[in-house]
Assembly symmetry: C2
Homo-oligomer: 496 residues x 2
């Protein structure tokens, strides 16, 4: 909008700070005018309810759920059809307005928060929440369907959707696909990538890619579905998905196991693996994390009588007509080389065990600041990382405490380095916390691991990705981003 820039009347000689303030205001006005023209164009294409500019309504969606990232945005678009999304994309490209796609706003890495300069509008997919069709082995659902809604709909069909995570009440399937989400059932069923049988997405030009017919074999060039899975909304907008359901009802039971160290846990995992596809979760928990939960979370109690340095929460599943899973766990654990174990004898008991696991994050937060890392490693390397390399990190940063918990079976641990006593609340975001994270990421990269296992890159890890990814990866990510998003409108400032 050049006329706006000329209209700014910048002083030719002024204090630097004045110039900067004026430039910022001017720039922001330019965005507002751009966005106004964009909205004018959309007015004829979208119903009025799809365009929200009420600041109070928008406010909650400008900050991520943990309050770590905030952005500026004066408009929230909430289309309810794929055609409306296509019209939005076309107009956004024509007017140079960026779109920040948003599902449940439950990103862990600032992946759904708009930029701070007000240059983008929020594109909420939450009103695209229809289940278009559902059967016993698949469902076609719109991007805004909430995970828990899908799980219940699957149950009503005598089936289940085999992906679960803590944010099930707010995360949408579009966001899950765009971030290739993981969770607690990856061990047996894989990440979101493995659940996607087909996709509908709006690409540059407002063109609609549609593979919802769900072909099992399709080799018409490289897969656009797989390209968009995990792209964090930077290449296009996922509007609907064909998702796998697993037919049949199941019974599940959990066991809590006390162990000496992560090496013993890995040996147990291998042993259970060999027994077939019955183990759906295998979560490793250090005693320090358990003790924090018992200290901070009401109505939790130690699962075992004795004291163990490490713990494993394992869940076994059997079909509706088969032996109960408790018996299977008994058989599998009876002569395993472990410390101690308790098998849940009721659903309530199973729930209580899972409650401990799901409360770790909250308990750790209560206990002061920590630099948190969502990392994955070749599985054989996880025990070494959680012991020797964790000690190395603690030595490097005296007073810190390095522990990891999480999905051992996927090589994925949530690795937290707790700040020394008396550190400020924002320690993790300061120089010291960043230095800790850099060391963690260096060690992970050296071991052939990933600095983002299941949370994605978003804003949080963009610099670290650029620092540590191979030249081949960075070259390809950047080239594809430019190719698929030539106008730079898809989720700016994220990933690459």
């Amino acid at each position: 909008m050049p006329f706006i820039l000329f209209d700014c009347d910048l002083p030719p000689f002024g204090a630097m700070v004045t110039i900067w303030t004026k430039w910022t205001k001017c720039h922001f006005r330019a965005f507002l005018v751009t966005i106004a023209a964009f909205l004018d164009a959309l007015a004829g294409l979208l119903p009025a309810a799809a365009i929200v500019s009420d600041a109070d309504t928008i406010a909650p969606w400008l900050t991520d759920w943990r309050g770590r990232w905030s952005g500026v945005g004066s408009v929230l678009l909430q289309p309810s059809t794929t055609d409306e999304v296509a019209a939005i994309v076309e107009a956004a490209e024509a007017h140079g307005v960026a779109l920040v796609p948003q599902g449940g706003n439950s990103s862990m890495v600032g992946g759904a928060t708009p930029p701070a300069d007000g240059s983008a509008v929020l594109l909420s997919l939450r009103r695209m929440n229809r289940i278009r069709s559902i059967g016993s082995d698949h469902a076609v659902v719109e991007a805004g369907v909430i995970l828990e809604t899908l799980q219940r709909a699957a149950e009503a069909e005598g089936a289940r959707f085999p992906l679960d995570l803590g944010a099930r009440g707010s995360a949408t399937v579009g966001g899950l696909a765009s971030t290739n989400a993981g969770g607690t059932q990856v061990l047996r069923f894989g990440t979101m990538r493995a659940q996607v049988l087909g996709m509908e997405a709006v690409l540059s030009g407002g063109l609609v890619h549609d593979s919802l017919s769900g072909l099992k074999k399709d080799n018409r060039g490289f897969s656009l579905d797989h390209l968009l899975i995990g792209a964090e909304g930077t290449l296009g907008i996922v509007t609907a998905l064909r998702l796998r359901l697993v037919p049949g009802r199941v019974q599940r039971a959990a066991a809590w196991i006390g162990l000496d160290d992560p090496h013993q846990a890995l040996a147990l995992l291998r042993r259970l693996d060999a027994a077939g596809d019955r183990i759906e979760a295998f979560e490793l928990i250090p005693d320090a994390s358990l003790q924090r939960v018992l200290r901070h979370i009401p109505q939790t109690r130690a699962p075992l009588a004795g004291s163990w340095p490490w713990h494993v929460l394992v869940e076994a599943v059997t079909g509706a007509g088969e032996d109960p899973p408790e018996r299977l766990l008994e058989q599998l654990l009876s002569d395993a080389p472990i410390g101690d174990a308790v098998i849940a004898q009721s659903d309530a008991h199973t729930e209580a065990l899972w409650r401990i696991r799901h409360s770790i994050s909250e308990a750790e937060r209560t206990d002061g600041p920590a630099a948190q890392h969502d990392i994955s490693l070749p599985i054989d390397h996880v025990p070494v990382f959680l012991t020797e390399e964790a000690r190395l990190i603690e030595q490097h940063f005296p007073g810190t405490e390095a522990t990891g918990y999480g999905h051992l079976g996927d090589g994925n641990v949530h690795f937290h380095v707790r700040a020394p006593a008396g550190a400020p609340r924002d320690w993790a975001d300061g120089a010291k916390g960043k230095a800790v994270s850099a060391l963690v990421h260096d060690l992970v990269t050296e071991a052939g691991g990933s600095i983002s296992a299941e949370h994605g890159i978003g804003q949080m890890k963009k610099d670290e990705l650029a620092r540590l990814a191979s030249p081949a990866r960075m070259q390809a990510l950047r080239a594809i981003k430019r190719a698929m998003d030539p106008h730079g409108i898809f989720n700016p400032g994220k990933l690459v």
Copy 2:
């Protein structure tokens, strides 16, 4: 090479044919000089044995195995390390010489044949044939390892590689990944995509992408592995793969089933599906195809006494210590609504049944020309396609005979439309054959199917892809091709 073009001394006025001949020669000389400079650059980087320019050695690799596509090439490069491939890619980009990657040269769609203008060199991956490591659940193998070699190496580890197809003695794993190959075990284990746990590939700039550490979870941006799978060598050169092996030995048995129609076959498939993961192949065969095999292939005999319009070959697999698969098949088929069935009682019997299935292609060729299509459809639509729509095609082209056989469980049929009696041998490549193929592809596209299920696009289906793919798909394929291959050196003239 402008000096070459000036050196050509084209006559200002000559017969058009003379000009054309000279222009072609001149052009071809220009390529030769370009290639000579490229080879000079490589001489210092590659061992002499890696550069082959003996015409007799090269000749067999210039034509595809069915003799449908031939190209021109004066050089074959056969690197034996990833570094050598990287050096080749870098030099090729610097000199503007295109590379045609080749594994076993077993493409069904002309995907590994060089262009006719002599502008490219062959890049054989066959000397990169080391098994870098192997265990009971995965192997890291170089691109040139032949499928059968991998299958045997897996067996020696007490495991198996769960992908099989007719060209197992020549197809390489690099080619299988680059074409996302299918085969007869997709029903349970998926296509090649599902077997790839990690990859090493050389991209533009000679940069090496390496995900061989085999992380189960890795969300560092969109997946390069999944982008390169099925890219037919147009985006980079796959040099090594980490592949899934399935631990454990199995016993297998086949059954041959006579049925009334494909609808009955689909009902049987659903019934067997419900019995769990024991059925690894489900091949549908029309009686016309069986009769052709019996007529043309020596030492084959009808599996059933009676006569049935349709047949199914099914294979069941059980673990080494479990009930024999013959018993499982007996149970599953005892009260199924089918015509008749025979369960193989020995490995030799199973082999004989499979021999019929694998001979269909050869028998059909003996019987005269046909337009062949490797299509996939939503599974529920396959019976309609094989009956009503096949009749419609026959009516449209009087004298033709339209039948399909293949992997019903994957919605993938090899759909052949046989020429009317007396048609010339090259009928399929002529106007009539192309019109037939266009109608087949139109019907497939209308039904939400794919014009390439497992063979890829290559040269053969490039025009049909451009004609029938959605604008979204074509825009994305082209943009990504340009982005990943800015110098246009990777497998020119294929796919997009």
